[in-house]
Amino acid sequence: MECYSRNVKVGEGIFETEQKVGKWYTVEEIFAEIIPDRQFYDQSGGGVTFSGGEPLMQAGFLKRILEKCKENGIHTAVDTSGYAPVKILDEIASLANLFLYDLKIINNDHHIKYTGVSNELIISNLKRLIGWRKDIVIRFPVIPGITMDDQKISDLSVLLKDLAGDINNISLLPYHPLAKNKYSKMYNSQEFDELPEVSAESLFLLEQKFSAIGYKVNIGF
């Protein structure tokens, strides 16, 4: 957990206050934040999304809060990279309703190059989730020069085509440089390599491609 200073202006005065970047919660405390909005979830068909970081790295806690939500009829979603032991995946899969599942790069060598780990587990976990008959939305980060070349898109399409029917939703997440601020705070460094913005046209082409293989495409920021 990190703390850093921030300046807050009140009238003519400027006061320094600490902004904590994290806080310890019990399951009951989290649930007390969730339950007051239940009327809104009921109306919209929405619910709670557990994100991060990587929520599967706090599997014990995640399991207990998912249980509580399930008991109370609250819809849950888990936003994950899928990089977790099968046993944990199974436990969470039995409790959550929806998975927002990142697929970055299908070619294993390149996946290792850019993320440091192999994607074999990630892909097999995805197939396992399908076996659990869970609702899944694929999230694909569209990063110029890294995930966007024709070969990579083709690899992804092949996999998605294979899974079409079991999964049919994909979110395209276009790259943006908004992490710059967070980066400088976390690493105390200004060396943030900014990449070019993703053009609307290329997003449109991607949308067409994935629609053609039967996916509903959402372009989100």
Partner: protein, 787 residues
């Protein structure tokens, strides 16, 4: 829009708001003629109305499809000297002020100086009222405890039902004759008053018929001199319409709208009633005419839209007539609050959304002008498609339409004793006020400064600003040994001042009933003709008087701060707290910081704070609701400020919630600006804790950036938010869609924008919590979306 509409719209936008002396001069002439002394007051008023309609200039603009102006030309705004007369100084202020100005020409000045002011000084309704107010009322009024709606404008506040779509004025005159026949001169002590009122109504009706004929004659004249064949045929078509309505019931779409417009002009020429006039459930009324015209082939959709565009522009030509003195701060706007209702349910309770509803929504989106105002009534019976269409317009950021809960409105009206049919045919008008359209006189009597009462309580009833003991002596604040004792003292002061307000209202009601009847307006609101009683004297089927509570958010936070710091945590003694407020926080900026950032606030679904909102609401309700009015009606509450939260703040010093002296209060039932930091769902939960169904309207504003409406999915989510709030019986919500400029302002003054949420990247966050780069990025995106 067509070229002709573009031109008319431009003319309307470019017309200069100015004071016209025409009405005042004609009124002066009439009152000097000696007739007034020979007839009853209602008849005198009707004859004055007739005099105006027969002698005022007729304005007809090229290309217009609906004709008639209140003044000699668009935005030439009359004054109502029989109600209140502007002084030379008032004219100066109106002419020169930066906002909401009205130009004053030299001949206007001359007319005021030489004719209008000399005659009317001492004869106005305002003076009549003020002369009869008690010293304690005047003290409270001057201290800013409440405002008085009925000193400068006629009561008004009503909306038309469907009467004119079935009856011409000649049919209404027959109704009058029947009512006259049933007057019992043997046994009814009020028989003569009844007859006079009916006579006045008949005179007014006939005057309006002649007024329409004057337009028809002028149109014929214009046609005879017109070279352009298209314009000529249009003049002739309009001439036909003006000979048919309002004397006869309208036979088609165009006649229906022109008929309404003549009635509207009549109402705002007779007097200067609040919220001008209002066609109400316009989609319901026009739909049968529209479908008939389309089926017969006499109307096309394009033509209907064009006529509606022209109709819309007429409202924009008629700014709210300017007031005098202090009330200019109450509601400083050109808007005259004609709030057109769309959607809702039919009298049988089924879904009222129809093709005309969507056409009118298109009109609103395309016209984008200040007046008229518009809103959508959302019932559980209405489809989501309807809400989504409305939200698409909200997204464009021009502030319309606002969104109302039909099912709550109906329950409110039923609780007040309306029949289910009258309730379903009703809606909300003005800002948010609930009424049974066509059947109810539901007047607002003034804003009430709930926060000022706390300031008085903390000063033992003494008003620091005016230096007078105007309230009860409930004791020095240091004497309150518990929060309950403090709240009880506030309640006693509240009751004391509500009583003063009501006593004053009741006198004013009777002054108006006697001296300021509105026989023309009375023609159109049931059951005035049947009762042979004026709208301003209790003739309507339902009569309600409202007192509007202002400052709920601020007061809740103030009470919460006092409970938290003085009683529960003993951070500060009451004495020192009050002293600190007296010095406007003086050296205690750091403590003020704590009051703003580290004390529980209303709007965050936190019961520690929210329970005070409920306590305040219940106390206000208990003090007002159900008390009888002289017109045979009932007092009720609603919670809206228009802009009065600014004036009311200006008469109060520093408050316990951390607000500095003279700053505005919270508006409607919205949280204090910047106090809500847990998102819109928390705001709605807090707002829903007071019992909306016990009011005649509440007002809630929420700020969003355009990105919240960016695609169908997002719109669906906002729609869900609305449905959720309405399922908790929330009455109204208005979305304030912020611009890139607002975001830039938020960068400069973050403490004013603590509640500003923006959509970031798959999630939303408080704008203040974002780094500058991210903020700039979002500003850039917002700007991009604006283009």
């Amino acid at each position: 829009m067509t070229d002709r509409i573009k031109k008319l719209r431009d003319n309307s936008l470019n017309a200069i708001n100015r004071i016209s002396e025409e009405r005042a001069l004609l009124m002066t002439e009439f009152y000097q003629s000696g007739i007034v002394e020979q007839v009853s007051i209602p008849v005198a008023r009707a004859l004055a109305f007739e005099y105006l309609l027969l002698n005022k200039q007729i304005y007809i603009g090229r290309g217009e499809l609906i004709v008639g102006e209140r003044g000699p030309s668009p935005k030439a705004t009359p004054t109502y000297p029989e109600v209140c007369v502007h002084s030379m100084q008032d004219l100066e202020i109106l002419d020169t002020r930066k906002k909401v100005s009205f130009k004053v020409h030299d001949d206007t000045r001359e007319a005021f100086e030489n004719k209008i002011i000399p005659f009317w000084s001492g004869r106005t309704h305002r003076e009549r009222v003020m002369k009869r107010m008690t010293p304690e009322w005047l003290d409270a009024y001057r201290a800013g405890v409440f405002t008085e709606f009925q000193e400068q404008r006629a009561p008004g506040h009503t909306v038309l039902g469907d009467k004119i779509y079935h009856q011409g004025l000649k049919d209404i005159i027959i109704e009058i004759e029947h009512s006259r026949e049933s007057i019992d001169f043997m046994n009814d002590a009020n028989a003569l008053a009844r007859k006079e009122e009916l006579d006045a109504m008949e005179i007014s009706a006939r005057a309006m018929i002649r007024y329409a004929r004057r337009h028809a004659d002028k149109l014929a004249e214009l046609a005879s001199e017109e070279a352009d064949p298209v314009q000529k045929s249009e003049w002739l078509e309009l001439e036909k319409i003006c000979r048919h309505v309002p004397e006869h019931a309208p036979g088609n779409f165009h006649e229906a709208l022109q008929y309404y417009w003549f009635v509207h002009l009549g109402v705002i020429t007779e007097l200067n009633p609040w919220d001008s006039f209002n066609p109400g459930r316009l989609d319901q009324h026009l739909y049968p005419f529209y479908t008939k015209g389309i089926e017969e082939g006499s109307l096309t959709k394009e033509k209907a839209v064009e006529i509606l565009h022209a109709f819309w522009i007429k409202f924009n030509n008629h700014p709210s007539p300017p007031k005098v003195g202090v009330t200019a701060l109450e509601s400083n706007t050109y808007t005259d609050f004609s709030l057109i209702n769309l959607g809702g349910v039919k009298p049988d309770g089924s879904d009222g959304v129809n093709e005309m509803t969507y056409i009118l929504l298109d009109v609103i989106e395309e016209m984008r002008i200040l007046q008229p105002s518009s809103m959508v009534q959302v019932s559980k019976k209405n489809p989501d498609q309807f809400i989504h269409r409305a939200l698409h317009i909200v997204k464009t950021g021009f502030g319309q339409p606002s969104v109302f809960n039909t099912d709550a409105i109906i329950q409110e009206l039923l609780r007040q004793g309306k029949t289910i049919e009258d309730a379903r045919n009703g809606g909300a008008s003005g800002c948010v006020e609930t009424g049974a359209f066509g059947k109810e006189c539901y007047i607002l009597t003034g804003y009430f400064n709930l926060v000022k009462i706390l300031e008085l309580t903390l000063n033992d009833g003494f008003d620091v600003r005016t230096g007078k003991q105007i309230g009860l002596q409930t004791g020095k604040p240091s004497g309150f040994k518990s929060f309950e004792e403090l709240f009880y003292a506030w309640k006693k002061q509240l009751q004391f001042f509500i009583d003063i307000k009501i006593r004053g209202n009741n006198v004013i009601d009777q002054v108006i009933a006697q001296y300021l009847p509105a026989p023309f307006l009375s023609l159109f609101i049931d059951d005035c003709i049947g009762n042979a009683k004026d709208y301003n004297a209790g003739g309507a089927r339902y009569n309600t008087s409202y007192i509007q509570g202002v400052g709920l958010g601020s007061l809740t936070d103030a009470f919460t701060a006092l409970r938290y710091h003085v009683f529960d945590n003993q951070t500060l003694s009451m004495d020192r707290f009050v002293k600190m407020l007296g010095s406007n926080f003086g050296e205690q900026e750091e403590f003020r910081f704590g009051l703003i950032y580290e004390t529980p606030k209303y709007g965050n679904d936190d019961d520690y704070a929210d329970r005070h909102a409920v306590m305040i609401f219940d106390a206000f309700y208990d003090a007002v609701n159900g008390r009888p009015t002289p017109r045979g009606g009932t007092y009720r509450i609603n919670m809206l400020p228009t802009t009065c939260h600014v004036y009311f703040g200006s008469v109060i010093g520093a408050t316990p919630d951390g607000r500095k002296a003279r700053e505005p209060l919270s508006e409607g039932i919205s949280p204090v600006q910047g106090a809500d930091t847990k998102g819109p769902t928390a705001v709605l939960k807090s707002a829903a804790k007071i019992d909306h169904l016990k009011t005649g309207g509440t007002l809630l504003n929420q700020k969003f950036t355009p990105s919240f409406f960016k695609d169908e999915n997002s719109i669906r989510k906002v729609g869900s938010l609305v449905r959720s709030y309405f399922s908790m019986d929330g009455h109204h919500i208005q979305f304030n869609v912020v611009s890139a400029d607002t975001l830039r302002d938020a960068q400069k003054y973050p403490e004013k924008y603590r509640d500003l949420i923006v959509r970031v990247a798959g999630y939303s966050d408080y704008f203040n919590d974002l780094g500058e780069d991210l903020q700039n990025e979002i500003i850039r995106r917002t700007e991009h979306g604006e283009m």
